[in-house]
């Protein structure tokens, strides 16, 4: 019996490839999963999962911890320990979850006594949480002393639609950050009170090292020109910041300074 050449060659090839494939399957398998972008819509999520996801966002993407702490007074914002229990009683006529949702999406609508209106809306850049993520954060906050009863329907459907994630509208300030740094240290004398990353040492005013991560350009621009009008960050002396930058700085110096502050991430 003679086996045709094609069959023999085919068998040899199959054995060789089978050996390679077999060895590759013999070693333990590791898959590389993409990082989770939280999307809970439509799925069945238990409150526990939701709270866990919210806590993760609180620590990471939400950048909440730059100002807020749980169990200790934050540098700029209220302690959130027990917020779940407190939230329902804070603003008259508003339930816990409605209040929390409002605080996240329209922070200026109700300001806790003693704190300035500095919080940015979390569904807008630079934080830009999507609808699911806001939902999870609310659930996490409710879990701090309250019961988790928030559902996706409590979060307005418009949340995050206005350009979240990578599509964030980039604001271009036509200033020169390098020159702005010089203004910060020189003519503006900002460094007397503020720290900005590597420069400055003053503890009179809040640390600005990460200001661009937590504040919008509008806020920064308005705050320089009208410090009192934007309130004073909690824990710092009121009315200390000069009201006169609008007169002392030239337009170029002002835009340079803002450009510099926007590099502080």
């Amino acid at each position: 019996m003679r086996v045709p050449v094609g069959v023999k060659v085919g068998l040899v090839s199959l054995v060789v490839m089978g050996a390679y494939s077999g060895y590759a399957n013999y070693i333990p398998q590791v898959q590389s999963k993409p990082p989770q972008e939280l999307s809970l819509e439509g799925g069945h999520v238990t409150p526990a999962q939701l709270v866990k996801a919210g806590e993760e966002i609180f620590h990471t993407k939400g950048t909440c911890e730059i100002c807020h702490r749980v169990g200790q007074k934050g540098t700029r914002a209220p302690d959130l320990a027990g917020i779940g229990a407190r939230a329902g009683k804070t603003k008259p006529g508003m339930g816990a979850k409605q209040y929390l949702v409002e605080s996240l999406l329209q922070p200026a609508a109700f300001i806790v006594e003693g704190y300035p209106p500095i919080m940015p809306a979390v569904d807008k850049p630079p934080i830009a949480l999507n609808r699911s993520e806001v939902w999870a954060v609310v659930a996490f906050l409710e879990s701090l002393g309250g019961t988790v009863d928030v559902t996706l329907d409590d979060i307005p459907a418009t949340v995050g639609a206005g350009g979240g994630g990578a599509a964030a509208a980039e604001v271009k300030i036509p200033g020169d950050p390098k020159a702005g740094e010089a203004v910060f240290m020189g003519k503006g004398t900002c460094l007397a009170c503020h720290i900005a990353g590597k420069v400055g040492a003053g503890k009179v005013g809040p640390d600005l090292s990460q200001i661009a991560r937590i504040q919008t350009p509008d806020y920064i621009m308005a705050k320089i020109l009208n410090p009192a009008g934007r309130g004073t960050v909690a824990g710092y002396p009121k009315g200390v910041m000069p009201q006169t930058f609008g007169q002392t700085l030239s337009a170029k110096e002002y835009t340079d300074l803002v450009a510099f502050l926007l590099t502080l991430k």
Binding site: V9, S13, M17, G18, Y23, A24, N25, I27, S32, A166
Partner: protein, 590 residues
């Protein structure tokens, strides 16, 4: 090749070009389209993966084979040896048969991208649109030059042979240019450049083309294509050899297989250096990507790669040793074989030693940690570079011995020359091992520089040995002609295994190239949000590669079979290049 098939190939090309030019218009509507569509049954990723791998296999073949076909044609032209001219024609015939399949698969790939990854495709078009036209134009130029080259074989023979060779060179230049254009798209996905943070093109498209990995991939692919073309041609010859019915036919295909393997081997020896350059550029582009590739998620892929390359080294040497049996006088060199096997096997083991080992907890306990205190030394770059350089030297030695198997130098200085050659080889080995060992005593940054010295030592030894060898054996006394066709049949299976292994290796490296992007379409710019965003484990990848490789070889067999049919139908009528007699022919070697 019938006229109908030719027309078919042209039609496909035309379709491809039209498609490439009209797509952006379609892409503008794509804004309203979904970002992904699902390919039925298989899923979009698997479909694109399979077709891309097949297309690349064929493309590598039709780009690689003509490169050495033209080299062989030049050899035949200069030496007036009809065998080479016949062989070159034979190779171009093989290329020709694969041409339309390549174009067809390319068009299919395009459909898949545009249809199932519309958003990705729109983005790529927004960057690379100017290059599409160039690509299409080059494809036309390439096709027509190859047509002229193939069909003008008889017409441009004799005194006009020079023009014919120039056509061959020209078609290769076009082919290489096509490769460069296509590489720019692929490398942009790995290491995007020339774009703003939001991904829009900043200046000219040239900055996007000339990204970190473009040049290294160009070089790496070009060399690998030659190797690939050579192994496939050798496997074809092996197949014909095994099925041959006459001694004359056996002799002819034995010789063809030898030449194919020789070309593959010569290019293969420099391939590790090109790969090293590519790796360095990936690190330079992004450290995290480099570490993910070499030490993280993909680290085991390199162990499998080491096994495949070890098989290639061992197989090529084995083929040379078996080939020496058909050369009278080669018995003198048999005694070196055990030593060479020893070095190759040891080098193979070192190279395949994993850095992250598969261990049970008990074994980890016994080893005192998750990495082995002794074998751990073999898992790092210092040991692996040393191993691969030693394997290259050994392979080169095999080749040198093969070359002189039936020749005895008549030069008076042959003894001294031989001594210098050995000294050069030993010196290179000493340098390689010295820097390999010394590498453990210096910090990493210095160690990386050592690999350059190792490479220089090996290349230097190769140059010195060949510079002495060529004059030393000019006009040498022969101990007998090569008995083509008497090689043991198992050597032909080795050629086939080499081709299969190399094809599989190409698939694996394709997975590596694509996998290091992980969950990105374009690294750092465009996230993969499809259902297939996860990068699969190595076992799954290996299964896909195996299946695609089987399909590839089935298609190649079918195409070759078709080519054989037309030959048989027109036997004698064609009038071209009667296969020259090879058995007991000249004892000249390539």
């Amino acid at each position: 090749m019938s006229a109908r098939r030719r027309a078919g190939a042209l039609l496909v090309l035309l379709g491809l070009a039209v498609l490439a030019l009209t797509l952006p218009a379609a892409a503008q509507d794509a804004a309203k389209e979904p970002a992904y569509r699902a390919f039925p049954l298989l899923g979009s990723r698997l479909a694109v993966w399979a077709i891309a791998q097949l297309h690349l296999n064929f493309a590598a073949f039709i780009l690689g084979v003509p490169i050495f076909a033209v080299i062989i044609e030049i050899i035949g032209w200069r030496t007036r040896d009809a065998r080479y001219d016949w062989l070159s024609h034979e190779f171009v015939k093989l290329t020709f048969a694969a041409f339309s399949t390549t174009a067809l698969l390319g068009a299919l790939l395009l459909f898949l991208f545009a249809g199932y990854y519309p958003k990705f495709w729109t983005y790529m078009s927004s960057i690379f649109f100017p290059t599409y036209g160039i690509y299409a134009a080059l494809f036309f130029a390439e096709t027509f030059t190859v047509y002229l080259w193939y069909y003008g074989w008889d017409w441009l023979s004799g005194p006009r042979k020079g023009i014919h060779v120039a056509l061959g060179v020209l078609s290769n230049l076009f082919g290489t240019a096509i490769l460069l254009v296509a590489n720019s798209w692929v490398t942009f996905m790995i290491s995007p450049a020339g774009i703003t943070e939001s991904g829009a093109l900043k200046g000219s498209v040239w900055a996007a083309i000339n990204n970190y990995t473009w040049m290294p991939i160009n070089i790496h692919r070009l060399i690998a294509n030659i190797v690939f073309g050579g192994t496939i041609a050798a496997a074809y010859a092996a197949f014909r050899f095994l099925g041959a019915t006459s001694d004359e036919e056996r002799a002819r295909y034995d010789w063809m297989g030898y030449i194919g393997n020789f070309v593959a081997l010569s290019a293969f020896i420099v391939l590790p250096f090109a790969g090293y350059y590519l790796g360095r550029e990936i690190y330079a582009f992004n450290q995290t990507m480099g570490i993910t590739m070499m030490g993280g998620f993909m680290s085991w892929l390199w162990i499998i790669q080491a096994i495949l390359i070890g098989v290639l080294f061992l197989g090529s040497n084995y083929y040379l040793w078996l080939g020496m049996e058909r050369i009278p006088g080669s018995e003198r060199y048999r005694r070196y074989v055990p030593m060479m096997i020893g070095i190759l096997a040891f080098g193979f083991m070192v190279w395949a030693t994993p850095r992250s080992m598969v261990i049970t907890l008990d074994e980890a306990r016994a080893m005192g940690g998750t990495h082995h205190p002794v074998l751990g030394f073999l898992g790092v770059m210092s040991a692996k570079n040393t191993a691969v350089n030693m394997m290259i030297l050994t392979t080169f030695l095999s080749f040198v011995l093969y070359r002189r198997a039936n020749r005895i130098s008549t030069r008076s200085w042959a003894g001294a020359g031989m001594l210098i050659q050995w000294a050069a080889l030993v010196a290179a080995a000493v340098v390689v091992i010295f820097y390999g060992v010394y590498g453990y005593f210096v910090e990493s940054l210095v160690r990386i520089g050592f690999s350059v010295y190792q490479v220089m030592a090996v290349l230097g030894a190769i140059v010195v040995v060949m510079a002495i060898d060529i004059p030393m054996f000019r006009g040498a006394r022969s101990t007998g002609a090569i008995r083509w066709g008497t090689i043991a049949p198992r050597s032909q299976y080795v050629l086939i295994i080499l081709a299969v292994t190399f094809t599989w290796l190409m698939g694996l490296m394709g997975f590596a190239r694509s996998g290091i992007r992980q969950h990105w379409h374009v690294y750092g710019v465009m996230v993969d949000k499809s259902v297939d965003a996860a990068t699969p484990a190595i076992g799954y990848a290996a299964n896909v590669i195996t299946v695609v490789t089987i399909v590839f070889f089935a298609l190649v067999m079918f195409i070759f079979w078709l080519g054989g049919l037309s030959d048989r139908g027109q036997a004698g009528a064609h009038g071209h290049a009667p296969a020259p007699l090879i058995a007991g022919g000249s004892d000249e070697q390539a």
